[in-house]
């Protein structure tokens, strides 16, 4: 219900408020202005947004948007941050690339940065096969343990990463070719069964038996060359240790027999032409740090020390 004041303005009696003058079926709208602080804040926001649209990218056009007079972009900011970060890391990386790998662990601080860098690179390049915790899976070696097919000191790890394992096209790749004794008919099925029994006695998984005794002779003739007379492996040939608790392709009788019959032979790419030397060095440090890393043999250390001026 609205009344008209002498000055012509209409106002609502119940609330003593002016109305805006519009009317719909007897319903009128009260004129309750916005609080002033609110209004001024609103105007300030408008002014701010005009400025914002001028200096920052704002208006989408056909192929790309306006760029803003400050030239800021989120991609540009990321690029700046990356280059700043690279600049920050440059001296550390330079030092890492210059130090001989035998000396890498001498400086704990340097080793720590190498491990941190390696951990990041591992997450990008290695987890696909070796797993996020580097614990591997059947066929993909576990890098945490102390069983190394090709050697577990820093230099050996670095070599393996650079040249890969059975990587076609790299002449220096780590290469071991176990014959497919069953598939190629080198041994009869019975001989393979006996050999399997013998191999499983090496790590105490099976007790000695007539079969294992028969298998021992076959082992002597066919396997000892690469796996060693006692089955403890030969790293020079990449012959795995058969006398320990760790089995790359499984320790069950069936798995071992299958490896003799027609061995699986895993391939690791050579990373030497994919990653830069510093990243590979950091990866080596990280893998070495996982708990199974081996120390250099004394001879290698003396040799490295001699090379130093």
């Amino acid at each position: 219900m609205a009344n008209k004041r002498p000055d012509g303005k209409r106002w609502d009696e119940a609330t003593s408020t002016e109305t805006v003058g519009h009317e719909w079926d007897g319903i009128e709208e009260l004129n309750t202005p916005l609080p002033r602080w609110w209004l001024w804040t609103f105007y300030a926001c408008i002014v701010f947004s005009i400025g914002y649209m001028i200096v920052y990218p704002a208006i989408p056009l056909l192929s790309k948007g306006t760029e803003g007079v400050w030239g800021w972009s989120s991609r540009g900011q990321l690029a700046d941050e990356i280059s700043a970060e690279n600049e920050r890391k440059a001296p550390v990386l330079a030092a890492l690339s210059q130090v001989p790998i035998e000396q890498l662990a001498k400086d704990p601080e340097r080793m720590r940065s190498a491990i941190a860098g390696g951990a990041a690179a591992f997450k990008v390049n290695c987890v696909q096969c070796h797993g996020a915790g580097a614990a591997g899976s059947p066929g993909y070696p576990n890098l945490n343990d102390d069983d190394w097919l090709w050697g577990g000191d820093l230099a050996a790890i670095e070599y393996t990463i650079v040249h890969g394992v059975r990587h076609p096209g790299d002449a220096q790749t780590r290469n071991s070719m176990m014959p497919a004794f069953g598939r190629d008919g080198l041994l009869s099925a019975a001989e393979i069964d006996d050999l399997t029994s013998f191999v499983l006695t090496l790590s105490g998984r099976e007790k000695q038996s007539a079969a294992s005794t028969r298998g021992a002779a076959t082992f002597e003739a066919q396997c000892a060359l690469c796996h060693g007379a006692d089955g403890s492996g030969m790293r020079d040939f990449g012959g795995p240790n058969l006398a320990d608790a760790i089995w790359l392709y499984g320790s069950s009788r069936a798995a071992v027999r299958s490896q003799i019959h027609d061995p699986s032979q895993g391939v690791m790419p050579a990373w030497g032409d994919r990653l830069d030397p510093v990243t590979i060095r950091m990866l080596s440090a990280y893998v070495h740090s996982l708990g199974g890393g081996e120390e250099f043999a004394e001879a290698a250390l003396v040799e490295a020390a001699d090379e130093q001026p």
Binding site: N3, M111, G291, E295
Partner: protein
């Protein structure tokens, strides 16, 4: 007319002259008069103390040796340390700060229930800085009447000059206020120098800018509006005050009806003590009339008591027409009785319980402060992989240990295994060939060292709990331990 119905007594289009109610009340500026008296002097003293504490504290030095800053009070956000004289708080000890904040909260409850809005009246920064700015007004523009005159005067060269001069002083005070704040967060002399040479971090300038702006606006212009409209504390206090809380009260039974001295002389007995001189209104920093009774605008600064007491003295009447009193005392006095001594009013169960809780928390914090060690150990077990089979059949678990050395000097710490028979461990910088049940690690001063521990247990062990124990290698021999678990492929067995 849009409404065909007629309402009796309200003829449509009738003669309506009342203005519509306004929801918006324009602020009446406050020009409070200078006053002297015991409460004013108390306010001066509290202002001097609080401002001195605020400005001087960051400059105090406290020797903590070569490995820690020498600033007595420092909130080192960058390094996550809080220094307060001999006390150093680490982030994991933040409960001390939480405890202090709880004490501050309960302290406000205690003060409010005992002496009413004393916080508002004397020590609230808004009050202190408003008071300061009002003194600047007085210094530049003169006392109450001069300021009111200048306010009404049209804008001219002289008024503009005066205003600019006054605002410049406001701004100077504001900059100093904002500037002092940042000195608590970094080494004060260094930051002070860097601030003027342009080498200080951006956040320092931004903080000073924001605090300068808030001081300038809140202290220079908004003043009592902050207390009346913005601050939640007065609203909470109105719920906390009871009939036994001290408030500033006008004793209306004694003052009413009001009459000038002359009128009272002509008509002895017809008038109360209030001579309606309006001095209580003139001195009020929030511009209220205390004689209207309790109201949210009253911050109980007691300047009106000073003003009224002086008038009462000049007119030869008893002081205390406006006075600190409880509502209960007022009732007693009104009925002709005598109010109990103030101490008795203040010491009542409610205040005593608040004081007890407050003191209890304080003693608890002091106790914790006394018995806390400066060596700490936390252990996180590797989850991926959870365990590792070694080639000889033994099982290895890996752990990440955090060794905290909270002393301002480097210390050696010995980490050992408690439980887990047959186990040995090695670390990232200690090779497996040197594995032992006890490893020594040097931890830098006032720092946390991260240490990897590879614990290996002979073949055949089952899952079990055990603890890492750390012991500082100095004469203090502080220890801490952290229980964790060793998992094996065999599980519980």
């Amino acid at each position: 007319m849009n409404n065909p119905e007629k309402i009796p007594g309200q003829e449509p289009g009738g003669d309506i002259t009342d203005q519509p109610l306004q929801l918006y009340a324009k602020r009446e500026p406050v020009f409070n008069r200078r006053i002297d008296g015991p409460f004013r002097r108390l306010k001066w003293a509290i202002m001097a103390i609080t401002l001195a504490v605020y400005y001087v504290t960051p400059w105090l030095r406290w020797d903590r040796g070569p490995f820690a800053p020498d600033q007595a009070v420092l909130v080192d956000l960058a390094n996550r340390r809080f220094y307060m004289f001999g006390i150093e708080i680490w982030p994991h000890e933040f409960y001390f700060v939480a405890g202090l904040l709880i004490m501050a909260g309960i302290g406000l409850f205690l003060v409010t229930s005992a002496v009413g809005r004393a916080w508002c009246g004397y020590s609230c920064p808004q009050t202190v800085w408003t008071d300061l700015f009002q003194h600047v007004d007085r210094l530049v523009d003169g006392d109450r009447n001069a300021r009111a005159r200048l306010h009404k005067a049209p804008w001219g060269a002289s008024k503009i000059a005066r205003r600019l001069f006054k605002w410049a002083i406001y701004l100077a005070i504001s900059v100093v206020t904002g500037g002092a704040w940042i000195l608590y967060f970094a080494d004060a002399p260094t930051l002070f120098r860097d601030f003027f040479t342009g080498d200080a971090p951006f956040v320092a300038y931004a903080t000073v800018g924001v605090l300068t702006a808030t001081t300038f606006v809140l202290g220079g212009f908004m003043r009592e509006q902050v207390c009346i409209y913005m601050c939640p504390w007065p609203r909470i206090q109105t719920a906390m005050l009871d009939e036994k809380s001290l408030i500033v009260t006008y004793k209306d039974w004694r003052g009413e009806p009001r009459g000038s001295v002359k009128k009272a002389e002509k008509n002895p007995g017809a008038f109360g003590d209030c001579i309606d001189c309006n001095q209580c209104v003139a001195v009020c920093p929030t511009g209220i009339d205390i004689r209207e009774g309790q109201q949210i605008g009253c911050i109980t600064c007691a300047l009106c008591i000073d003003a009224c007491d002086r008038v009462m003295k000049e007119t030869g009447r008893e002081r205390g027409l406006i006075d600190y009193a409880t509502l209960e005392d007022c009732e007693t006095e009104k009925a002709g009785g005598t109010a109990p001594p103030i101490l008795k009013t203040v010491l009542r169960p409610r205040t005593l319980i608040y004081a007890g809780v407050w003191g209890g928390i304080g003693l608890g914090l002091l106790f914790l402060l006394g018995v806390r060690t400066h060596t700490d150990l936390t252990v996180a077990q590797d989850r991926n992989p959870p365990y590792m089979l070694m080639s000889d059949g033994s099982v290895r678990n890996a752990y990440t240990l955090k060794l905290r050395n909270m002393e301002a000097r480097p210390r050696e710490m010995t980490v050992s295994l408690d439980g887990l028979p047959g186990a040995v461990m090695w670390s990232d910088d200690i090779p497996r060939s040197a594995a032992a049940r006890e490893l020594v690690r040097k931890v830098p001063a006032d720092a946390t060292a991260t240490m990897r521990a590879y614990v290996v247990v002979p073949a055949g062990a089952a899952d079990q709990d055990f603890s890492f124990v750390v012991r500082s290698g100095d004469e203090q021999g502080e220890t801490d331990s952290s229980e964790t678990r060793f998992v094996t492929p065999g599980g519980e067995q």
